[in-house]
């Protein structure tokens, strides 16, 4: 008998064709690899299999009709994707969804990118035979970043799974059941009140218009049409390699020349590049890092460019806020510089200078409205448009994007190096900082600026990069669940990394929720490659080579990391409650003569043992029959989490509180009241 091992490829049969099995997780993957595009709503390759939409049904010989997404491929299966029966079931499923769907397609923000519309068209549904049973529900416009229209939800749950499985948050979930079932924030509150960090990935995966980025187009048209206003605009790196997709260009192709031309035609006076302020960020952040590294400051240093991550850290990791870089994001740095320098330079009043930014991101809309980014009521950035919104404005203005004669960014804040451009993809911030730090540490010129070690697609990458005599350990994450893993380690003091780059969205900003909706499988790879190509096509690759940045320091900012730089380019963070929650009143309604005690039972104080304090105080009140003199309440988050547990006694907040400390304070206050 020969010792050869049989290496025959295992196959199964799809619609009469033998197809090899190569480790695909389910039949749907295999069928799509065979270039048959089965319709789905609830299947997303990054998420767990849900199997609810019943559109990817196939007929398997001997087994009957099954969902392809939830059937593992097995050799020898005979699969049919098209039969009379399957077509009929698919049609009925979609028709039933359409019956309860608000079918106002012409006025829907998702029109033309809507999968429900697409599937209905492909299945040839020309009539909906069923009557709606749902009454119209109010549209939730509470979030600064997203609009939630429950009347368009098909309950596929993609948003729910993305939020909990990739971001590790769970700001929305299914509630109620049967025909009352709905996707809701906790307790049916508004999205803007809860834990949502505004990344908008729920909207990116939503097949319909139930979740969409909040639109600011009308406000921007208004200022553009106002002759008293001078409107300037900045464009983030990731926008240039994606906007072309909406005009029929291949993903990843850089369109910066046309983009600038279009913005000028729309009426923007100056077009600046967020990559300029990304260069500035590199210099400030790298120096901040090197300072901490040499002076024994807080490490790992977490990046702070991603506003989704910043809100996440404020909600869940208060004790790590000192580890966050104090650098503002490039968007806010540029806004701050524009509002500081341009009024004098152009001779316009500050209130008549409007800063608009074009971002791949929905969380940037929230960031621009943070109170710390406004001075005397003047915001650093007035309006944030997503890539999608800019494309819509270009369409509305009737501009033929691909035919536009390219134009150049305005100087000086339109000038950048490749380091600023690669900020738009995961690993890019790290690489840009390394290109700076390597020269600064060694004092020698870096000949090859590429750090291939930090590039990659995985959501969690740990790399070691030798820089001169030292080895820097970097963590690069996208997806906040991954960030949470590293942050938990850092919280326990078990993280020996130097820098952790966090981007909330898959692949970094190129995968932001403001980018064009795409079902192209390799979209992130293509856009990322686009940014590295832009970097390669430039002459300068290191932020320290940006002479306009150098000039900016000389003329306006002074020393790197100095007082003026801090005033304009740095910020601070604060603890943030994760949910708007009411105080639990545990006694009768408190009266004036009672000592009012509030024990924080928010996540952080809870972890630090506030439950025991609450328990002890309640016991004492009962034992000593103090019910008439003291009222004990549980409350949700004083936003002092880093000093928890927090107990407030008649408004006096005791931090790092213990049960004896709280008791002593209560006795003291009782004494004061009796006097």
């Amino acid at each position: 008998m020969s010792a050869t091992i049989a290496t025959a490829v295992k196959t199964l049969n799809i619609d009469g064709i033998e197809v090899p099995i190569n480790g695909e997780r389910n039949l749907l993957e295999l069928i799509r690899k065979a270039d048959i595009d089965l319709p789905t709503f609830c299947y997303h390759s990054d998420l767990s299999v849900y199997g609810a939409c019943r559109l990817c049904l196939v007929d398997i010989a001997g087994r009957g009709i099954q969902g392809a997404c939830s059937t593992p491929p097995e050799p020898g299966l005979k699969v049919r994707t098209q039969t009379e029966e399957i077509r009929e079931i698919r049609k009925i499923s979609v028709e039933l969804l359409l019956a309860n769907h608000e079918r106002e397609c012409t006025t829907c923000g998702k029109s033309a990118a809507c999968q429900l519309q697409d599937v209905a068209r492909k299945l040839g549904i020309n009539k909906v035979r069923f009557q709606p049973v749902h009454k119209p529900k109010p549209v939730d416009r509470s979030s600064l970043s997203l609009t939630r229209d429950p009347n368009k939800c098909v309950l596929c749950g993609d948003c729910v799974r993305f939020c909990s499985e990739i971001q590790g948050i769970g700001a929305i979930d299914f509630a109620f059941r049967g025909h009352d079932a709905a996707v809701l924030p906790a307790f049916g509150k508004d999205l803007g009140e809860g834990e949502c960090i505004n990344c908008g990935q729920c909207a990116a995966v939503c097949p319909t218009g139930a979740l969409t980025p909040r639109q600011e187009i009308d406000e921007v048209w208004k200022v553009l049409g106002d002759p008293t206003k001078t409107v300037v605009v900045q464009i983030a790196p990731a926008v240039r390699v994606a906007i072309g997709e909406l005009f029929g260009m291949p993903p990843g192709e850089s369109t910066r020349g046309q983009m600038v031309a279009a913005l000028k035609r729309l009426g923007f006076k100056y077009v600046y590049d967020t990559a300029f302020s990304a260069d500035l960020t590199v210099i400030e952040e790298a120096n901040e890092f090197l300072g901490r590294k040499t002076n024994g400051g807080k490490l790992p240093l977490f990046t702070s460019c991603c506003p989704g991550w910043v809100k996440f850290a404020e909600q869940y990791f208060p004790e790590l806020l000192p580890n966050l870089s104090t650098c503002k994001s490039p968007q806010q740095m540029l806004g701050a510089l524009v509002k500081e320098l341009l009024p004098a330079e152009l001779g316009v009043e500050k209130k008549n200078l409007v800063m608009v930014s074009i971002m791949p991101c929905t969380a940037k809309k929230f960031e621009a409205k943070r109170p710390e980014f406004a001075k005397d009521g003047v915001a650093e950035v007035d309006h944030v448009l997503t890539t999608q919104e800019l494309a819509r404005m270009i369409e509305e203005a009737g501009l033929r994007f691909t035919k536009l004669q390219p134009e150049s960014f305005d100087m000086p804040m339109g000038f950048k190096t490749g380091a600023g451009v690669i900020f738009g993809n995961s690993g890019g911030v790290s690489e840009a900082v390394l290109r700076y730090a390597a020269e600064k540490v060694t004092g020698k010129k870096l000949v090859n600026p590429d750090f291939h070690a930090v590039r990659g697609e995985d959501g969690l990458r740990i790399v070691e990069v030798p820089v001169g005599d030292i080895v820097l350990k970097l963590g690069i994450v996208h997806g906040l669940k991954n960030a949470r893993m590293l942050a938990e380690k850092a919280r326990r003091g078990k993280c020996d990394l130097d820098i952790i780059e966090v981007m909330a969205c898959p692949g970094g900003c190129i995968g932001g929720a403001g980018q064009p909706v795409s079902r192209e499988r390799d979209i992130r790879k293509l856009r990322t490659r686009g940014l590295y190509d832009v970097d390669k096509n430039m002459e300068l690759h290191k932020s320290q080579e940006n002479h306009f940045v150098t000039e900016c320091y000389q003329r306006h900012l002074g020393e790197i990391g100095g007082k003026n730089a801090h005033r304009l380019l740095h910020t601070h963070y604060h603890n943030r409650r994760r949910i708007a929650g009411e105080t639990i009143e545990l006694g009768d309604s408190p009266e004036a003569e009672k000592v009012k005690v509030n024990v924080c039972t928010g996540t952080n104080c809870f972890v630090k043992g506030s439950q025991h304090i609450l328990h002890a105080l309640l016991d004492q009140v009962e034992k000593e029959e103090l019910q008439d003199k003291v009222s004990i309440n549980a409350s949700f988050c004083f936003e002092k989490c880093d000093h928890g547990p927090t107990v407030s006694v008649d408004g006096n907040k005791i931090q790092w509180c213990t049960a004896p400390a709280a008791k002593a304070e209560i006795l003291q206050k009782m004494k004061e009241k009796n006097q």
């Binding site: 700001a171 039972t601 949700f636």
Partner: protein
């Protein structure tokens, strides 16, 4: 009209929530029994307590709310002092349970989706089969089973309670 009285949220009860959480080892997989036990205490699931449970189990409040609203057994609104459950399972339904429901609701001035009276005295609900089909149609008032009901006898049950409460 009397305003809705605050549900009983005494300190003792809240301590009970701690005990419940500890008893179940603060395991997220024990969410349903934890909510059952909490509801035993409060007669419904107050929002604030649900947030506390979510915090203690380290799961999102939206998930806890989802579970609490999925099962009809759980109530997120305070229930009345007396609970009237009308069976609308198949056997009771074919024996005209719905006219009984209508009559009771009319007597208690419950309109639309409302199930609890403004004075918090009654909550009227339907349930799917109590397993007493031989007695159909069945009404259960505060865990007491009444069989072979009619609209008139249903209203009478309610009126007896009202009379008792007023005396």
């Amino acid at each position: 009209m009397r305003s809705k009285p605050k549900p009983d949220c005494s300190g003792r009860k809240f301590v009970k929530v701690f005990t419940i959480l500890e008893k179940h080892g603060r395991k997220p997989s024990r969410l349903v029994p934890i909510l059952q036990a909490v509801q035993e205490e409060y007669r419904y699931l107050p929002k604030e307590v649900l947030t506390y449970v979510a915090t203690a189990l380290d799961i999102s409040p939206a998930r806890v709310f989802g579970v609490a609203t999925f099962y009809t057994h759980f109530a997120i609104e305070p229930k009345g002092k007396h609970i009237v459950r009308l069976c609308d399972g198949t056997a009771c339904h074919v024996k005209d349970s719905i006219p009984i429901l209508d009559a009771i609701r009319k007597r208690l001035k419950l309109e639309g989706k409302k199930t609890t009276t403004d004075d918090m005295l009654f909550t009227v609900e339907t349930v799917a089969c109590l397993g007493a089909c031989g007695l159909a149609p069945v009404v259960v008032v505060d865990d007491q089973v009444h069989g072979a009901m009619s609209p008139a006898s249903g209203v009478k049950l309610v009126e007896e309670i009202i009379a008792r409460e007023q005396s």
